[in-house]
């Protein structure tokens, strides 16, 4: 009846006999009778594989796809076919965490390679095996800073980071004695003057995101000095695709680099899975959260890989661990590793540069030809924010004609009426962007 359950009636009888009971029910005798479930679960009976396929098809068809110009933390880039094929190799996806190193060298080595790739991109010295997403990575990075600067209890967070990151941080620290304070922005980028005014030696960490939620790139010249003069740690969150063109976190003097690797080989998938990356300098290695893979040797002297520095982790340290994280996003991290290895630095620069060029093309057409106002005339990578009159209606109209024109920022900032953040990747063609402009022209009339 159930293709995942191999027990035949004959097997069951033989097994019960060996156990020395008459029925399966007897095996549940330790459950007190008053709570034993006597009625069936109110869930419809099981169905065939083909019926499942049909039901899931029906659900998927209730979601609509369009030509997407949406970003704000999730991006539709090109994904090489090899990524999906490799992620479907059963010995990867049907494995557990690589506790038994001798039969888990494949996953361990892939994590070691992922750690290396993240270090190369961010310019930092060490990386872990992955965290859940860029938003929870921010909480973990702040925790590292707080654990390093034990007496400091203030954390300064730029007002231009992703509002969801901000909310995740607020939730994370709301019941412990850490104060999260916002660094005001000026013209929609972090104000260095405000930072200078706010910071003192009670600050453990300063968190800035570039490109920021509006898409603008933050010029972080001078930031690290101010932060370090006050003994605080600088955490910089970046869309890693931007690092193909823009300065890395290490270039800005950051102590901890974080972000989400979704743009590398992972589908947008309604927001998950992504992968949180975190990397830092060797001084902070032992403050890192989660799994880390290290190189070692086996008894024959052969190179081997193994989960290492585990004295930081929950299964050893319990309540004194650096983090509670156990399962992370290993397979998705492998996906991003495959992506980076496949495209290489040349390909990454190409994807990154093309996203930049195309975004600037659309920006020019929208501001120069349609006369739309930019929220701030700032530098940007592949995402920018414009004021589109009656944006709610415009976005719905455009969506109904197959163009997902951007993210209305009023969903995050009620005061920012009609601000729309538009993202462009290398996947979008000139033709699609021209269609965007034409449609918007018609809709605005």
């Amino acid at each position: 009846m159930f293709s995942y359950l191999p027990q035949t009636e004959k097997d069951i009888q033989e097994m019960l006999k060996v156990i020395g009971v008459n029925s399966i029910e007897e095996l549940f005798k330790d459950i007190p009778d008053e709570i034993l479930q006597k009625t069936p679960l109110k869930i419809p009976k099981g169905i065939s594989e083909y019926e499942v396929f049909k039901r899931m098809t029906e659900l998927a068809q209730k979601n609509r796809q369009g030509i997407s110009f949406m970003g704000c933390g999730s991006y539709e880039h090109l994904i090489p076919s090899v990524v999906g094929h490799i992620l479907q190799l059963p010995n990867f996806y049907t494995a557990y965490t690589p506790y038994q190193a001798e039969i888990s060298q494949g996953i361990l080595q892939s994590i070691f390679e992922f750690q290396t790739l993240i270090c190369e991109l961010t310019g930092m010295e060490v990386s872990n095996a992955s965290l859940y997403d860029d938003h929870t990575a921010a909480s973990e990075a702040i925790t590292m800073a707080v654990n390093t600067r034990k007496k400091a209890n203030r954390v300064l967070v730029s007002g231009t980071i992703h509002p969801n990151t901000r909310s995740v941080i607020e939730t994370f620290f709301s019941d412990v004695s850490i104060k999260i304070e916002e660094i005001p922005s000026k013209d929609y980028v972090t104000s260095i003057d405000a930072l200078t005014e706010m910071i003192d030696e009670n600050v453990a960490a300063v968190l800035i995101q570039t490109p920021n939620i509006y898409g603008w790139t933050e010029d972080l010249s001078g930031f690290a000095d101010i932060v370090h003069d006050n003994k605080a740690l600088l955490i910089v969150s970046s869309n890693p695709m931007s690092l193909g063109i823009l300065k890395s976190q290490a270039d800005w003097g950051a102590d901890i680099a974080i972000g989400g690797t979704q743009p590398f080989g992972l589908a947008t998938y309604f927001g998950g899975p992504s992968v949180g990356y975190i990397s830092t300098g060797t001084k902070l290695t032992r403050k890192m959260p989660g799994r880390i893979v290290g190189q070692t040797k086996d008894v024959d002297g052969k190179r081997a890989f193994v989960l290492t520095l585990q004295a930081r982790e929950q299964h050893i340290k319990r309540q004194r661990a650096t983090s509670n994280i156990c399962s992370n996003q290993a397979l998705a991290a492998m996906g991003s590793g495959i992506y980076l290895s496949t495209v290489g630095w040349k390909g990454l620069k190409e994807a990154s540069t093309m996203s930049f060029q195309k975004a600037h093309y659309l920006y020019r057409r929208l501001t120069e030809e349609l006369g739309l106002k930019s929220l701030a005339n700032k530098d940007f990578f592949n995402e920018f924010t414009l004021i589109i009159p009656e944006s709610d209606k415009v976005l719905i109209d455009m969506e109904s004609q197959g163009i997902f024109a951007g993210v209305g920022l009023s969903r995050f900032f009620p005061d920012l009426k009609d601000a729309v953040t538009i993202a462009v990747t290398e996947k979008r063609t000139k033709e699609e962007m021209d269609a965007y402009v034409d449609l918007l022209k018609r809709v605005l009339k």
């Binding site: 159930f2 359950l5 191999p6 097994m15 060996v18 156990i19 709570i35 679960l41 109110k42 869930i43 009976k45 099981g46 899931m56 659900l59 209730k62 979601n63 796809q65 704000c72 539709e76 090109l78 090899v82 059963p90 010995n91 996806y93 049907t94 965490t97 038994q100 001798e102 039969i103 494949g106 996953i107 892939s110 190369e120 060490v126 859940y132 929870t136 925790t143 995740v168 994370f172 019941d175 010029d219 890395s248 589908a267 998938y269 309604f270 927001g271 799994r291 290290g294 070692t296 024959d300 052969k302 193994v306 509670n324 399962s327 992370n328 397979l331 998705a332 530098d379 063609t429 033709e431």
Partner: protein, 484 residues
């Protein structure tokens, strides 16, 4: 077999992917952005052709073991079969290609799935409502502890700062409660391997927020006194948290809600068949009883006459705990599994998981020392202590010995309250033949321990690498490849 790193396979000038040519004016980047922002350093990334990348990862896959290859009785991890239809449907473009910030109207399929899956999980656990956002079990535990915090804040009982955790609990329990702002106190197990009700009584006070329990516990034993435990904790004004890591034992048999629990997290990558992916992505939904539903994270998903929608306006919400809505690709697979199995199939799955475990336990206990000799649920724990005393063979040696037989070893040295422990969880998807063959292997290993212990001390012999030096790994701390 080559074990080159992808960086060592690299050859300057190769690429594994061809991007389309640029079709917009190619204006120099430096003319469009401040040069102070531009990167100058060049990262060292691999340069490989498409076949290089495929061969590299296929080589790695051969050096890895998964459920599809063989028996994987890793205790407390529920390594059941990962159904293939779930992989197929999870790759539908109508799921994979959706952006998290699209209009509600354009994501009705996802919202319906979230609503239906939450409802089914509530029915299975006896809870009222919850959230699918947590990315993993530990993330679910943290979310669960935030429910505790929110509840006591609302009641003005900020003095409740202690959380009780059994000594046999998963390490994530105390770690999660600590980062949520609680202090941990350990409860002892009694001679039965169950929570000591006497010890619990002595710890309960008006500063206790509650207790975190796994039931069946990590020894595979059902906490028979659960009704009494729930009554005591509730009378003391506390809440009960259920770690759903072992939910695979009880679907359709007993519900945590009926046991008296207020909060539960589930590991969809255990009980609900989603693949573990070598360490994630998983999913750790949290379900709660009626009095805690007001604290769910934002956004919640609700149903109206016009369809499904996100609810952001939740006055007492704990706030956001994930960037968006969780590991959706995992949730899709779990939903697919639940409709495949149905209420009747889920119950059968738990019954057979318990049957398989008891069968294996009975057969092995004739040779190996079964630490708590009683009916078990979905898993049981052996102790290699006597074997170590007699033959010098430890749990680790047995585990490494198993590697040569194409079996993934059980969990070892956890729970730590059993000396030289080996925790075995066969799951329901394994046949009697597989279990019998595992017993034969274990008997073989026992004979070796007696007659040829050296072979076990030096095991494994047939794996891609042999026993690895963990101390050296810590000492040299080589955590990335470096160009020579």
């Amino acid at each position: 077999m080559s074990n080159k790193l992808i960086f060592e396979v690299s050859s300057v000038g190769r690429t594994g992917y061809r991007f389309p040519l640029i079709d917009v004016p190619n204006i120099p980047v430096k003319d469009q952005i401040s040069t102070a922002l531009l990167r100058k350093s060049v990262p060292v990334l691999p340069e490989v052709s498409e076949i290089d990348i495929i061969r590299h990862y296929n080589g790695l896959a051969k050096r890895n073991f998964g459920v599809d290859e063989g028996f994987y009785p890793l205790g407390s991890c529920t390594m059941k079969y990962n159904p293939k239809i779930n992989e197929d449907v999870a790759n539908f473009p109508g799921f994979a290609g959706i952006h998290p910030l699209q209009s509600e109207d354009s994501v009705q399929g996802f919202l319906e799935m979230i609503y239906e899956l939450t409802s089914s999980l509530c029915e299975i656990t006896g809870m009222k409502w919850g959230t699918l956002q947590p990315y993993a079990g530990a993330h679910g535990e943290f979310t669960g502890m935030k429910f505790f915090k929110s509840y006591f804040k609302k009641r003005g009982e900020l003095n409740r700062t202690r959380v009780l955790v059994p000594t046999s609990a998963h390490g994530t329990n105390p770690a999660s409660a600590t980062i949520a702002g609680f202090h941990i106190e350990e409860i002892q197990a009694d001679e039965r391997g169950l929570v000591s009700v006497e010890n619990l009584k002595s710890l309960l006070a008006d500063d206790v927020a509650g207790i975190m329990l796994t039931n069946p516990n990590t020894l595979g034993l059902f906490e028979k006194d659960i009704i009494e435990i729930a009554r005591l904790v509730h009378e003391a004004g506390g809440l009960l948290y259920y770690d759903g890591a072992n939910m695979n034992a009880i679907m359709g048999k007993v519900r945590p809600g009926d046991m008296g629990f207020d909060v539960i997290h589930l590991n969809l990558h255990k009980t609900f068949s989603t693949p573990h992916g070598g360490g994630g992505p998983g999913a750790g939904p949290v379900l709660v009883s009626e009095r805690l539903t007001g604290f769910v994270p934002t956004p919640d998903v609700k149903k109206s006459d016009d369809g499904y929608y996100f609810e952001y306006n939740i006055p007492d919400s704990m706030g956001r705990i994930s960037g968006f809505y969780g590991n959706m690709a995992v949730l899709v697979r779990a939903y697919s599994y639940i409709i495949t199995m149905g209420g009747d199939g889920l119950k059968k799955a738990s019954e057979y998981a318990v049957l398989n475990a008891n069968y294996l336990k009975e057969r092995l206990k004739k040779t190996y020392h079964l630490y708590y000799d009683t009916t078990c649920m979905h898993e049981f724990v052996l102790s290699m202590k006597k074997m170590k005393e007699k033959y010098g063979i430890s749990s680790l040696d047995v585990a490494k010995g198993l590697l040569d037989y194409g079996v993934h070893p059980p969990t070892i040295y956890f729970p730590s309250i059993v000396p030289e422990s080996m925790m075995i969880e066969p799951t329901e998807t394994e046949s009697k033949e597989t279990l019998d063959s595992f017993v034969d292997t274990m008997l073989n290993i026992y004979e070796k321990a007696k007659n040829n212990p050296e072979e076990l001390h030096t095991a494994p012999h047939n794996t891609a690498v042999r026993r690895v030096d963990e101390v050296l790994a810590v000492k040299q701390a080589i955590l990335k490849w470096t160009a020579e």
